[in-house]
């Protein structure tokens, strides 16, 4: 068991956990933020996606202890005050959420994509989301929601 501090969505959380624990399990059970999902637990499905210093990372396959001193952003960190992030609003309005399990990871990957590339082509959106599996929607509505967000004037 070792003690360290994780900075998640701008808040410092003291953590005491075994050093082999992955970031996903520490976020869900020690920090208490359960928006990030465990899907395959094998770095394949993207349900566990979080941002580490702004870059998308599969938290199931990243040691939590390695994230100390870095800025971790989870889906809970996307909303702006009481307002949903435009990506969250648009994925709901476009019908890009069905069972919802992939949604947090999709939003995190999409957010990183738009930070890097504010007006991506459809192909670029599909590549940006290529580490996120969805078994419900067939992806079209998710891609549309990202493109709609990109087309909106930024506030």
């Amino acid at each position: 068991m070792i003690s360290y501090t994780l900075t998640v969505n701008g808040v410092d959380y003291p953590v005491a956990a075994d050093q082999g624990r992955n970031l996903l399990s520490v976020l869900r059970t020690e920090v208490g933020l359960t928006g990030t999902k465990e899907g395959c637990d094998d770095c394949e499905c993207g349900a566990c996606m979080v941002l580490l210093d702004g870059q998308p990372v599969n938290s199931c396959s990243y040691l939590a202890v390695q994230a100390q001193g870095r800025a971790v952003t989870t889906v809970e960190g996307l909303q702006q005050g009481d307002e949903m992030h435009p990506l969250q609003r648009n994925i709901l309005e476009e019908g890009g959420v069905q069972c919802g399990f992939c949604t947090p990871g999709m939003l995190v990957s999409a957010c990183a994509l738009l930070e890097r590339n504010p007006s991506p082509s459809e192909e670029e959106v599909r590549i940006g989301l290529s580490g996120n599996l969805c078994r419900c929607t067939g992806y079209a509505k998710i891609v549309k929601a990202v493109q709609r967000t990109a087309a909106e004037p930024r506030t």
């Binding site: 070792i2 050093q19 082999g20 992955n22 637990d41 094998d42 770095c43 394949e44 993207g46 996606m49 580490l52 870059q55 998308p56 990372v57 599969n58 396959s61 990243y62 040691l63 202890v65 390695q66 100390q68 001193g69 990957s109 990183a112 994509l113 192909e123 599909r126 590549i127 940006g128 290529s130 580490g131 996120n132």
Partner: protein, 295 residues
């Protein structure tokens, strides 16, 4: 149990000398531990915050790529993706955007998977690995480094600090492509890289071809003579299929691998020759030529 975050190579070497194992992005180590491949080492040293490991130096002699450079950087680097092109082809195919953010070239090379996407490109470009320990440093060729699946000749106290790639000759270029069943989060079913140098008349004066996922390590194809691009590509196809030593597993049968690795070798030679002529074939070749799974 110990965990150290090293910020210099010397700190990392001291930890290795004391018995710790290195972790960069963790995309092989952490996933492998969960699969029961090998338990997570009790003593770890994180090497992902060592600035010196993240340098890319391009000189007239060649490229020195720090072991901690990630695949995203290699995919988009202006010189690597046009001059040392096959390496960028390989990095661009690794995992997904998130895997490419954390996965490093040094990790790919030292994990020694026969299916690694950067392996064949580094072989055809004649790369050497720089291994450093508290007692000194040495350069090792890849054929000497890889001794089997997941095995290298590096000592436990040695850290891969950089990959050195000699500058390609004039009128030469390279390409790597793979057979894949899907476009993302995929491991090569088979793959091939080619590095081609053209003579003034447009024929191939020299070439190297290496194969991915058809033997216990990445292997180089022997005995392909120069000639017209079409002849050389056909010879590479035949030699690759002949020299492959594939296994059958859940992903493909040995016969299918033997056939398709020949096709990949031919296409790699053709794509490398087109690039050597100055034709723009964008990175990665798989997408540029529509090879592999449809979107």
């Amino acid at each position: 149990m110990s965990f150290v975050i090293a910020t210099t190579i010397d700190e990392a070497l001291a930890a290795l000398a004391a018995g710790a194992r290195p972790v960069a992005g963790g995309s092989d180590l952490v996933v492998g531990a969960r699969h029961g491949k090998a338990p997570l080492p009790g003593d770890l040293v994180a090497i992902d915050r060592i600035e010196e490991l993240r340098c890319i130096e391009i000189t007239d002699a060649g490229a020195c790529i720090g072991a901690g450079v990630n695949h995203h950087t290699i995919e988009h680097h202006p010189v690597l993706s046009t001059v040392y092109t096959a390496i960028s082809d390989g990095s661009a195919l690794v995992g997904s955007p998130s895997t490419r953010n954390v996965g490093t070239l040094g990790g790919n090379v030292m994990n020694a998977s026969p299916a690694m996407d950067t392996g064949s490109p580094l072989v055809v470009l004649g790369a050497e690995v720089e291994l450093r320990s508290a007692s000194g440093s040495r350069r090792v060729g890849l054929a000497e480094l890889w001794t089997g699946p997941g095995r290298t000749s590096a000592r436990p106290d040695e850290l891969c600090v950089a990959i050195h790639v000699p500058a390609p000759a004039a009128r030469s270029n390279s390409a790597y492509l793979r057979l894949e069943y899907r476009r993302s989060m995929e491991i090569a079913v088979v793959g091939a890289a080619a590095s081609v140098t053209l003579a003034d008349d447009g024929s191939v004066s020299s070439l190297r071809v290496a194969l991915t996922a058809v033997a216990p390590t990445i292997i180089e194809v022997a005995g392909i003579a120069g000639g017209s691009v079409a002849d050389v590509a056909a010879a590479a196809q035949a030699a690759a299929a002949d020299q492959a030593r594939p296994i059958s597993d859940v992903r493909a049968s040995d016969a299918y691998r033997r056939h398709t690795v020949g096709v990949m070798a031919r296409r790699a030679v053709e794509a490398a020759a087109r690039r050597a002529l100055g034709e723009p074939v964008s990175v990665p070749v798989n997408r540029a030529l529509g090879i592999g799974a449809a979107s």
